[in-house]
């Protein structure tokens, strides 16, 4: 078995894990991060995209609110290109009028330092004409929209540049332990490489468990009890960007009270249902209805708008004692030093928290690790922009402008999201890619109204041609990730057309996983999984067109290699057909 060594092994490629890797590498530690799937495949890629100002927590959880506004200001500098500066509103809808919450909200904002300014309703409606005209008060806060995929990838790139090694599709199967009764020490992990289908050992002086909702399972491998209550939240995306500002209901935080503009769509969230298994991402019919009904209160007509997709993410909520309602479990993060807590040395768990505070969580975690390993340089993440931050915040039109300026129309592979062939090729080359879903997280492939109807076949063709040496972009294998540029049509200028002759196969693509038929089937099923919970009306017609393309025209259900499976085929195959439970269960 292959064995490698490092000082710090980070488990989990969500934003917390990559943040820890980045911070630790900057301080001079030797770092390896392992993630069992793609970066941001878990909760970091399954949320609504809200960069909190803290406003949501000012009344209920002032400590979280203070952390949020502090980190919000930092991330606008260090990760500017991952953020769209939309600003946010807290609005008082007719349902929320008979409450003293708005006044408590204003007071709490002042106490926690979250900037909050009341504005005239008429002014708010001019800026957001779809907003419910019956709202009575509006407060402006510095919320923003953040791209969780890009935030995670950009931080991972910064970590790599600082020397960290990041292995995706590497699943921890066991923790390596030394010592005996009363003197247990974690000394590394056994890891399964799902792409090469081989086991390896990673030995480390310190193992940091940043597995999010899965952290309890990792800790359980050495008998440490960490009670994570996976809190499932359902979100739905509309086919249109209904608002340009983050809209929050000004009330005690609850279900379906946040609407976030995210690139070309808007996302409403969320529900909060405790689930036993963090992989249980099934969406119930009542959750969809609730999102539609709550959306209607913010945007009249919301329930009739075209819905593209629904998905669920699991919050890694840490339970310190018995608490009944999930949302009342602290959103503050929790750092567990298992040496102090359970007598297991060399092992730290970081859990809870929110995407907005990932940098702070990483800082505190590495502080703790340094206390054991011996201090190196101080933390500098708050002052260190990640590569790409120099571009400044993104805005809705950036891709369109680059496509038009660069006359890249004939390179568009995904017309919904303006993904060019060059962007796809670069993403496939520069990021470890096993499924087209990985490319979706890199460049937003297939995230628009046709939900992969046209771009699935095209992307498969492009990847296949790339593998055979017919790429349109120069091969930059071995160079650093240019994550900031992956999102940019102009950043990946193709020659416009592949070379006529002399193809050189691209060796960096994991060959057996690049079976075009497997890529096709996996991505079609992955997209279907997110569409089934919300498909009706116009989108049902769209799905029938997609069936016409892939069954009638392509006959993809009768392609060779029907038995091939990727590491994610079973995950995509989970049954998500809607159930008959129409009402929220009360217990």
């Amino acid at each position: 078995m292959r064995a490698i060594e490092t000082e710090i092994l980070v488990i989990g490629g969500g934003v917390t894990g990559v943040g820890v890797a980045w911070d630790a590498a900057l301080r001079g530690f030797d770092v390896i991060l392992v993630e069992r799937r793609d970066l941001a495949h878990g909760t970091s890629g399954r949320f609504h995209g809200l960069l909190h100002s803290g406003g949501r927590y000012v009344v209920k959880d002032p400590v979280s609110a203070r952390e949020c506004i502090h980190e919000n200001r930092i991330l606008r500098r260090t990760h500017a290109h991952c953020i769209e500066d939309t600003g946010g509103f807290f609005v008082v809808t007719p349902e929320d009028e008979d409450s003293d919450y708005p006044d408590r909200f204003v007071q709490a904002c002042a106490e926690t330092g979250v900037p909050c300014q009341e504005m005239a309703v008429s002014q708010a409606l001019r800026r957001e004409p779809r907003l419910n005209p019956r709202i009575s008060r509006v407060f402006r806060v510095p919320d923003a929209s953040v791209d969780g995929f890009q935030l995670t990838h950009a931080t991972a790139q910064a970590a790599r540049q600082a020397g960290a090694r990041i292995f995706t599709y590497h699943q921890v199967t066991d923790l390596l332990v030394a010592g005996g009764e009363g003197d247990v020490r974690v000394v590394g992990a056994r890891v399964f490489d799902a792409v090469r289908a081989e086991e390896m050992e990673i030995r480390a002086a310190m193992v940091i468990n940043a597995a999010g909702a899965w952290a309890g399972r990792i800790a359980g491998m050495v008998g440490s009890r960490v009670d994570i209550v996976p809190g499932k939240g359902v979100m739905i995306a509309t086919a249109h960007r209904l608002v340009n500002t983050v809209i929050n209901r000004c009330k005690w935080p609850s279900d379906g009270d946040i609407l976030v503009p995210a690139h070309t769509v808007s996302i409403i969230g969320t529900t909060d249902v405790p689930v036993a298994d963090p992989e249980d991402l099934r969406i119930e019919e009542w959750e969809i209805r609730k999102m539609l009904a709550e959306g209607e209160k913010l945007i009249p007509g919301f329930a009739r708008t075209r819905i593209l997709r629904a998905w669920a993410g699991v919050r890694p909520l840490y339970r310190e004692s018995a608490v009944t309602d999930d949302r009342d479990i602290s959103r503050k993060f929790t750092l567990l030093d298992h040496q102090e807590r359970d007598g297991v040395a060399g092992f730290i768990t970081i859990t809870g928290g929110k995407l907005t505070t990932f940098r702070l969580m990483a800082e505190k975690t590495v502080d703790r690790a340094a206390a054991h390993l011996g201090p190196r340089r101080p933390c500098i993440t708050a002052e260190t922009p990640v590569p790409g931050a120099e571009h400044g915040p993104y805005w809705l039109g950036h891709r369109l402008r680059e496509v038009e300026d660069g006359r890249l129309q004939n390179q568009l592979i995904c017309e919904c999201e303006l993904v060019t062939r060059g962007m796809l090729e670069s993403a496939a080359r520069l990021n470890p890619t096993v499924t087209l879903d990985d490319l979706r997280r890199d460049v937003r492939l297939g995230m628009g109204p046709c939900q992969g109807g046209f771009c699935t076949y095209r992307a498969v063709g492009v990847i296949h041609e790339l593998k055979l040496g017919h790429g349109v972009t120069p091969d930059t294998e071995g160079s650093d990730w240019r994550v900031a540029d992956l999102q940019s049509p102009a950043g990946n200028p193709g020659r416009g057309r592949p070379p006529v002759s002399g193809p050189e196969p691209v060796s960096s693509l994991a060959d057996h996983l690049y079976d075009p038929n497997l890529l096709l089937r996996d991505f079609l099923q992955e997209r279907w999984k997110g569409v089934v919970p919300i498909v009706w009306g116009q989108q049902l017609k769209q799905e029938q067109l997609d069936r016409l393309i892939y069954l009638s025209i392509m006959n993809v259900d009768h392609l060779p290699d029907a038995g091939l499976k990727s590491p994610l085929s079973d995950f995509y195959g989970v049954d998500v057909t809607p159930n008959d439970v129409l009402e929220e269960p009360h217990d």
Binding site: H464, E465, P498, Q544, R547, G573, D575, P578
Partner: protein
């Protein structure tokens, strides 16, 4: 007075219009648009797979008994084998006359297998002449030629899958400048450009890449107006069989089919076709539809006729609509549908489920005379017929019976409505 008002201008609506006009009926077609024909591959799929079975159907006629045993209400159970055969033959004769000839397997009972744009074998009953040399029973090795920068066709994927299926196949690329200098183009743009392109450059380029004995598969872009001449001239100049492989939509072969039928109906037969005329309402008296109304800018416009034929298609064509609670309804007459009215019953877990999804199999139930039925099993209206993919108990996309159902039921409905006194 209009003898027949057809609602819908997809394949079934247009063909019904042609056949009714030829029988002397004063016929009008009112439709939102031209249906889904130009999205499909331009082939005539009669029956490619039986529900839940993996092997392609060899003979659609021989398989009918098993199909109708599994789906007793299937439209083919109403037309019968004879009706299906007769309609497909009539279609073939018609298209021959219109200069867009269709052909099939050597044995007229059987399907052809043609390579799909992913390289899978597509079971089709009739194909445009331009696709016939792709027939997988022919011996020549495949050369699949693509064009650089054409994003709707990937020859290396086709060649690799054909090779895996046991055929000799390889891929080549040619520069798109042989056809167009445009920066942005669809397959339709390329077909238009081909109508006026200098074919000798393309022919020379093909000769350079082709090996002796190969047949050459090209994306389906070989002209719209001059399609027949282009195909013949190119094959002759290259000295090899040349055939088209369908692309991602929009489909040039589908557009050719729509165009010849539409022009035949309007120009040769002097039928009236109103597009952009979405029928939304109707009025009935004493069990007869007296008029239907279409949306217009000022107020709905009423259209009277002796007979009405509903050919609006199903979910894809726009004949049905659906809402979050799971209700699916027919948009004009609110005819009872067999579609499950609960969303939990609409789907199977797999997108590619071989049995298809129940919601896409639901439709309008009709009697043996193709008049829609009420829940009690009586004709809903004396003078209303229905044809095409809105009919119940058929999932034409899973079955690969999209065009066969459209053609056979349009033919049967027209025969029925002509022979009924109203």
């Amino acid at each position: 007075m209009t003898d027949l008002l057809i609602i819908g201008a997809g394949l079934s609506g247009l063909l019904a219009g042609v056949w009714a006009r030829r029988q002397g009926l004063r016929t009008r077609i009112a439709a939102t648009g031209l249906g889904a024909t130009h999205w499909h591959a331009g082939t005539i799929d009669a029956l490619g797979y039986l529900p839940g079975e993996d092997a392609p159907v060899r003979s659609p006629f021989a398989a009918l008994t098993r199909l109708t045993a599994a789906r007793p209400g299937h439209p083919y159970a109403l037309t019968g084998e004879a009706g299906l055969r007769e309609a497909l033959a009539a279609f073939r004769t018609l298209l021959e006359k219109l200069g867009l000839p269709y052909g099939g397997a050597a044995n007229p009972d059987e399907n052809l297998l043609l390579p799909s744009p992913a390289g899978a074998p597509r079971p089709v009953y009739l194909a445009p002449a331009a696709q016939l040399a792709g027939d997988m029973s022919r011996p020549e090795p495949y050369l699949v030629v693509g064009f650089q920068a054409l994003r709707d066709f990937y020859p290396t994927v086709i060649a690799e899958n054909l090779t895996k299926l046991g055929f000799r196949a390889r891929a080549e690329f040619l520069p798109i400048e042989l056809i167009t200098d445009r920066r942005d183009f669809s397959t339709i743009d390329l077909a238009r450009a081909m109508d006026s392109a200098d074919l000798s450059r393309l022919a020379n380029a093909l000769k350079r890449v082709a090996a002796p004995g190969e047949r050459i598969g090209l994306p389906a872009i070989l002209g719209l107006r001059r399609h027949g001449q282009i195909l013949a001239a190119l094959s002759e100049a290259v000295g090899a069989p040349i055939f088209e492989i369908p692309t991602l939509p929009p489909s040039v072969p589908g557009l050719r089919l729509t165009t010849v039928l539409r022009e035949h109906f309007e120009r040769d037969l002097h039928g009236r076709l109103d597009l952009g005329m979405t029928v939304t309402d109707f009025h009935a008296e004493a069990g007869r539809v007296t008029w239907v109304a279409s949306r217009a800018s000022a107020r709905p416009v009423r259209h009277r006729a002796r007979r009405f034929l509903l050919a609006t298609g199903g979910i894809l064509g726009g004949g049905f609509h659906s809402e979050p609670r799971g209700r699916v309804w027919e948009t004009i007459f609110d005819l009872p549908l067999t579609a499950p009215q609960k969303r939990s019953q609409w789907f199977r877990p797999d997108f590619l489920a071989p049995e298809g999804h129940p919601v896409f199999r639901g439709g309008v139930r009709v009697g043996p005379d193709f008049r829609p039925l009420t829940l009690a099993g009586e004709p809903a209206f004396e003078n209303l017929w229905a044809a095409g993919n809105l009919l119940a108990d058929s999932d034409p996309i899973s079955e690969r019976s999209l065009e066969g159902v459209a053609i056979a039921t349009a033919r049967a409905a027209v025969t029925s409505l002509i022979n009924t006194d109203v």
